[in-house]
């Protein structure tokens, strides 16, 4: 989770990722950010995020994103 937070902080240092649960709905993350996050996740965790998982529910909060990473690691 810490590594993931680092990735997110690097993109938008001003966002409080512990509390924010609307990163997509509030348009904080755009498609450029999403692709960057996916590339970084691939590098850090060796997990490929398929396009079908790019849905708001998976990217709205750091917690949801971490749950996605864990699920993909399990798969």
């Amino acid at each position: 989770m810490e590594k993931l937070l680092e990735i997110l902080q690097e993109l938008h240092p001003d966002v409080d990722y512990d509390s924010c649960e609307s990163l997509i709905n509030d348009k904080i993350l755009d498609s450029f950010d999403i692709i960057t996050i996916i590339t970084q996740i691939n590098t850090e965790f060796d997990v490929a995020v398929p396009a079908s998982e790019i849905i708001p529910e998976n990217f709205n909060s750091a917690k949801a994103l971490w749950a996605l990473v864990e699920r993909l690691l399990d798969d």
Binding site: S31, F32, I35, I38, T39, A48, P50, A51, S52, I54
Partner: protein, 524 residues
Amino acid sequence: MSFVSFTFLAFLAAVFLLYYLIPKRFQWMLLLAASLVFYAFAGPTYLIYMAVTILSTWGAAYAMDRVWTRQDEYLKDNKELSREDKKAYKAAQKKKARLFLALCLILNLGILAVIKYTGFVLQNINNIFGTQIRILRFALPLGISFYMFQSLGYVIDVYRRKYPAEKNLAKCALFTSFFPQLIQGPISRFDYLSRTLYGQHDFDGRQFAFGFWRVLWGFFKKLVIADRLAPVVVTLTGKAENYPGVFVLGTILFYGLQIYGDFTGGIDITIGVAQMLGIKVTENFDRPFFSKNIAEYWRRWHITMGTWFKDYIFYPLSVSQGMIKLSKWSREKLGPQIGKRLPVYISTILVWLATGIWHGAAWHFIVWGLLNCVVILISQELAPLYRRFHERFAFSNTRAWDVFQVFRTFWLMGMIRVLDVYKDVPTTFKMLGTIFTTPNWGKLFDGSFLKLGISGADYLVVLFGTLVMFFVSLAKGKGDVREMLAEKPAVPRYICIWLLLAAVLVFGAYGIGYDAAQFIYNQF
């Protein structure tokens, strides 16, 4: 059968009557029959193309669904398998499903490529290599790009296991052919449309009235604004050299209004007709001319096409293994900033290229797509500068600045959009250049604009229509205008509806030689 024809009105009346008279369980079958009749009017042979799309998407989705079901059953029955064995089994099943998906995509996109792009490719080969290959041109089935993309979206979703496949071939056929949205979209998603498409619907007076109002509003935009402006746009772009400078500004303004009235009006009719049948169709516009930049404009204009390209091309391309490798490589070799941008920029360029090509087989569509892309990427690069600008200058956070941004976006988008209407790309750029070289402002006041194919009275009608459209759009910002209207007492409510109907009948552009039958987006 055009939406703007008496045949369509008679057809609709028959469909509504039967729809609410027959047993409800047969309603979706009636819609299928009606949709096939509707499409047969465009040309019976076009039904063959549609049949290929229906059969192939139904078959592929069905086959993939079986693969996924068997996989689930196998894994359920073999819980003792090791993680590696499960992974290997899943990979093998995915490969099978991918084969069905690939066959379906290749068949459909292959057909689309051959009938839509063969002439364009051969023409360019002849131009470049000086060859004399005979140019083959195929009749383009009406709305093929719309119904095919909608069906392919469904197949890809089944492959991604977003939802199970529809086993009933006839229901699948209705999803592809549903007549209100068949020829110009929206490009619906199966999970959304199917919720109401196959349902059993009682007649609901309120929904029927709301749908009717929306249809009427669509006719108003199409007939009172778009079709009345059509002759001016034809004149201004037909012999473009005769109409430089201020006339080009006129082209940008009039074509912008024309295509807005035409396309959003057509979609209003689509959504309204569907609502009268109790069916919910996805919205395709969100007041696009109030956008403050081009990226926002594209999130609000032809929304279902934009999200289709994003979900099925942009994201898959951006997160593909090749692109991830490229990103990693560029991060190491060229630095984190370029590494971050490269996959997104390459995907964005390819998506806009595809969007241009989707619109038609012509260079101006390709240039149009790439110009949109260039503006969006420049805006993306300048975003930090904009942020600093907003922090530094207080006026940039005022209402007036918002209005300026809307105005700027309208004209910038309009300059790109006129690539549609001038005869070719060089002419468009040449004419845009004349805005600065030979503006001829005097032409605004010497009556020249009254000699472009419509009279002063026509301009007044267009001005009146545009103002109505503008204020309705403003009101939409506060909620559904029809809901607001429904809350009014009966007298003012009916006055509004009758005035709208009267405006369509009195001010609509009817007449001999009038080409209302053709909606601009039908050709795509």
